[in-house]
Symmetry: D2
Subunit: 142 residues, 4 copies
Amino acid sequence: MTKAKMSVAELDAFLLKEFPQAFAAGNITIERADGDSCRIRERFHEGMLRPGGTVSGPTLMALADVAMYVVLLSAIGPVGLAVTTNLTINFLRKGAPGNDVLAEARLLKLGKRLAVGEVTLKSGALPDPIAHVTATYSIPNV
Amino acid sequence: MTKAKMSVAELDAFLLKEFPQAFAAGNITIERADGDSCRIRERFHEGMLRPGGTVSGPTLMALADVAMYVVLLSAIGPVGLAVTTNLTINFLRKGAPGNDVLAEARLLKLGKRLAVGEVTLKSGALPDPIAHVTATYSIPNV
Amino acid sequence: MTKAKMSVAELDAFLLKEFPQAFAAGNITIERADGDSCRIRERFHEGMLRPGGTVSGPTLMALADVAMYVVLLSAIGPVGLAVTTNLTINFLRKGAPGNDVLAEARLLKLGKRLAVGEVTLKSGALPDPIAHVTATYSIPNV
Amino acid sequence: MTKAKMSVAELDAFLLKEFPQAFAAGNITIERADGDSCRIRERFHEGMLRPGGTVSGPTLMALADVAMYVVLLSAIGPVGLAVTTNLTINFLRKGAPGNDVLAEARLLKLGKRLAVGEVTLKSGALPDPIAHVTATYSIPNV
């Protein structure tokens, strides 16, 4: 049983429209989303790397932002105007070259006006996180 | 089996000397610290409240800072010169009046120069966190 | 000409009631507040120090939080229920022992629901900041 | 007279090698960099927008990250291994469609191991910032 207000298929369709830059390339997959947490995967591609083979900061920030939006949508349904107001990222480790990047987001608070969550980013199956994010979304009056 | 380099008794003695303002009053207790995570408790006292009965922001920030220091000390041993370089707190909910405040800290990264952790703050036995913190400590060369 | 909705005397009276722990001791003075920015001073006292003579992190976080509240009140008038939702502090340098701490806050955004500001903290007349804060306040519907 | 250890031409050449994804497209220009602060410009292009015409969060985070790196390089010279350890962004306002995005970065601290700075992001000539960033870079031992 789940609290999710949108299925993964509904999320996919909604996000393809809302975040075409992130989703149209087909690199990002929603693996699960249950209204409290979600997991998304960005398939490895050369465009995510900096020279030296590190996953770039903007790649991680963008993926974390998408993960927060996915878990929020799964909690409140298709609300297109929610916007990130604040995001803090700590970069922790380099990932391994060639690995997908996984983002697990979890809601810490779901209020009427604000939602706060945290996102843990990992490199493939490596156990230690490569980055950690907290972010706040502002939810429009509906 | 634990990775802790200091016992709770050793941590208590060290912190009483290092953070006398926080520890001398006897309100803060270390419940456990294992080198990866710790839990500390601040006993309810009127001084932690704002008018209206909310636990004050500075109380939560100070307790989170102590919790990060406790888990770091338990991981690396008695290093007095570690300093917080960065702290981000999200205030999530009001606690219940009269409740102790609990802080659970967890290391996200323990490097040679920097340690990063997160702290979840709760009000007594209430399940939902009242605040969430990420913080970075700079570790001196030793 | 100023945009301030409250004079310094009105702010003093309001804050003494709202933040008695911070203001009743008489250590904090509002030097100016004009609806866009403010400057407040915490007079040196031993209670603000950690062993070694550094100003403690919680002292700086608490003072920054008060400075943000002062500039917000001066912009919107006496709204008692505004609450900090997020605060990020970067600790930059040690101050000089014996110095007052000065906090200059500036609004970056004043929206209907959220206000965002930054605070620069200095040690007496030393030119370089000892800490920098960004914070978000949630403004209640009135 | 400037404290800059690299000219704008030297910075351009270095960054084209280090951040080819950001610089090879030719959208980003360094307008000035003096060892304390810098200003960079990202020319408007459709790829920076979300549906609805807002500049996307990842665009702003990426540009702020580059601006911090530019001011740091101008202060310490060509050090390729400096990495962002922490970044906090507050999204403040929508920009105007069609506008370039400008990022002004300023060092708050330049230590041996860590540099901390803030970045103000604006939309063309509009006076109010659209986002504000603080970030920490870790500087390798050299």
